[in-house]
């Protein structure tokens, strides 16, 4: 009653035309025959795939820099930002000789995202100060075991020779913002 949207149900008697059903049946039949000649919405799946939105957020990627070193420094901001608490990580210190592997002195030795918990909101990407994590247009594939949905670094970090393009999702405003190296976020 507070919203004034409650409706009082009236059990009204049907009039003659409603009782003989026929006008209603003709109406329904006209609707269905019109649908026969409509454009079909079916996508023949394995051969054709439905187009996804340009800002679609799918499976995550952990980026490497131009030289191939991992960008993530295990600061934990993504894990804090994550509303679904899907991200966990363990930090480790970079040893001598690993400069080519990790960009800064600290790196994530373990980095796991639980794809069953993840809601693909993109807040980790927003929180990341190192431009290390991005959501891509890839769809997380199905699996049989719950454990297999916890993606570790083996699945998340991009291969050195197979870089994953993440520029598709970036709006012009974001690309413009990221050009300004003086802004604290981009330093």
């Amino acid at each position: 009653m507070l919203t004034n949207r409650s409706k009082v149900v009236v059990k009204k008697e049907m009039n003659f035309w409603e009782r003989i059903y026929l006008p209603a049946i003709f109406g329904g039949v006209a609707v269905t025959i019109k649908h026969m000649f409509r454009r079909k919405t079916t996508v023949r799946f394995p051969e054709a795939k439905r187009e996804i939105s340009s800002v679609w957020r799918g499976q995550h990627v952990l980026k490497r820099d131009e030289k191939g070193a991992e960008r993530c420094t295990a600061c934990g901001l993504c894990a804090v930002a994550c509303p679904a608490e899907a991200i966990t990580m363990t930090a480790a210190e970079r040893k001598k000789g690993e400069e080519g592997l990790y960009r800064e002195e600290k790196y994530a030795s373990v980095y796991e995202i639980n794809m069953l918990r993840c809601i693909f909101c993109g807040l980790c990407e927003e929180a990341c100060p190192k431009e290390a994590i991005f959501l891509t247009d890839r769809i997380v594939p199905t699996d049989f075991q719950r454990n297999d949905f916890v993606y570790g670094k083996d699945k998340l970090v991009e291969k050195v020779n197979e870089r994953i393009d993440v520029s598709v999702r970036q709006t012009p405003a974001v690309t413009e913002f990221k050009k300004h190296k003086s802004l604290s976020h981009n330093r």
């Binding site: 049946i25 269905t32 649908h35 026969m36 079909k40 919405t41 079916t42």
Partner: protein
């Protein structure tokens, strides 16, 4: 005598094959029509446009494991689908597919048997058809099957009355029970003769008849005997493999036969407009007439499907109300009206 027998056997085989083929492709058509009415494409993987889908379905039915429940009555469990299939096929015997074809001075009629009690025979066979469902449902020893079977028998018995009464009005008008004579009376149609199809004289009767035909075939909106949402599968819950296939097949054959009966009784049978003005020989008119009847039948089969994908299922009390309080009084009224007009206008 030999020639007569050979001719009849060939005719029986041809009509039997056509009936089965139409029934098989009705399953395909049903899925396609359903898909198109719901903005989908439907089966299109088996062959171009999926036209081999019925073959795939048939193979699947044959190769599936056959399960006969331990608690069922084994003999009746097998008899059930046989009766359903048998009666469905038997009813098609009387359909006059055309007038006569004269080859070498001998006139061959395109009808397997022209009984002078034609319509009564159809009714008799159709009412045996309910036994297939009842036996199947009861012998399964499953409450859902039994409920389905009870619904089927109650529904078919109630709608048969209205159907019979609708036919009586038609018989009052035509004065014959033979399907062939009823067809011949409607010969000509639009053109030089101006004999109208029976539907023009019997619109109410036609309406009652087609509603009852839907109920007799257990088609939506009257498919309560097998209504999936309440009864799992209805009378064929326990059936698997080709025995289930027979039940489903029998339904489509019933649809085909009742479409043929509707076309013959109310829509001119093998007659088509302007048939006497084209200046064709009798043989050609007969062949064109058979094609015309086939087209009418296919239209009604499509109509059955069209209605199925439009109207939701009736509730059981609504079904009984419609049958006993709606259609039967209307049918009696129709008989009265027909009798009055036949007397008033003299013999039509």
């Amino acid at each position: 005598m030999i020639a007569f027998l050979t001719y009849k056997i060939i005719l029986v085989l041809v009509i039997f094959t056509i009936t089965l083929a139409v029934a098989a492709y009705s399953t395909y058509a049903e899925r396609k029509v359903a898909a198109f009415m719901q903005d989908r494409i439907g089966p299109d993987r088996a062959g171009p446009f999926g036209i081999f889908q019925p073959l795939a379905d048939g193979l699947k039915f044959i190769y599936k494991e056959e399960i006969i429940p331990n608690v069922s009555n084994k003999l009746l469990f097998i008899v059930g689908p046989c009766v359903a299939m048998l009666t469905a096929l038997m009813a098609g015997v009387l359909i006059p597919w055309g007038d006569t074809v004269t080859i070498g001075g001998i006139a061959y009629s395109l009808q397997i048997a022209d009984l002078n009690v034609g319509i009564l025979y159809v009714f008799g066979v159709v009412s045996i058809g309910v036994y297939g469902i009842m036996i199947g449902g009861w012998s399964s020893n499953n409450k859902f099957s039994l409920l389905g079977a009870i619904r089927a028998s109650a529904q078919m018995i109630s709608y048969e009355i209205a159907m019979g009464l609708a036919i009586i009005a038609l018989i009052l008008m035509t004065g014959t029970l033979s399907l062939k004579e009823i067809s011949l009376q409607q010969a000509g149609g639009v053109g030089s003769h101006w004999t109208m199809w029976n539907v023009v004289y019997q619109p109410l009767g036609f309406l009652i008849f087609i509603v009852c035909a839907f109920a007799e075939c257990n088609r939506t909106p009257f498919d309560l005997p097998e209504c999936e949402t309440e009864l799992v599968g209805g009378y064929h819950t326990e059936y698997s493999s080709m025995k289930l296939g027979f039940y489903l097949f029998a339904e489509y054959i019933n649809m085909f036969v009742s479409s043929a009966v509707i076309s013959t009784l109310y829509f001119g049978g093998f007659n088509f407009p302007f048939m006497n003005d084209l200046g064709l020989t009798q043989n050609w008119i007969t062949i064109l007439g058979a094609i015309a009847l086939f087209a009418k039948v296919l239209f009604f089969v499509f109509f059955f499907m069209w209605i199925r994908w439009t109207i939701p299922r009736f509730r059981y009390d609504q079904l009984m109300n419609l049958g006993w309080k709606g259609l039967i009084p209307l049918a009696i009224l129709n008989i009265g009206l027909t009798g009055f007009f036949t007397l008033w206008l003299g013999h039509k």
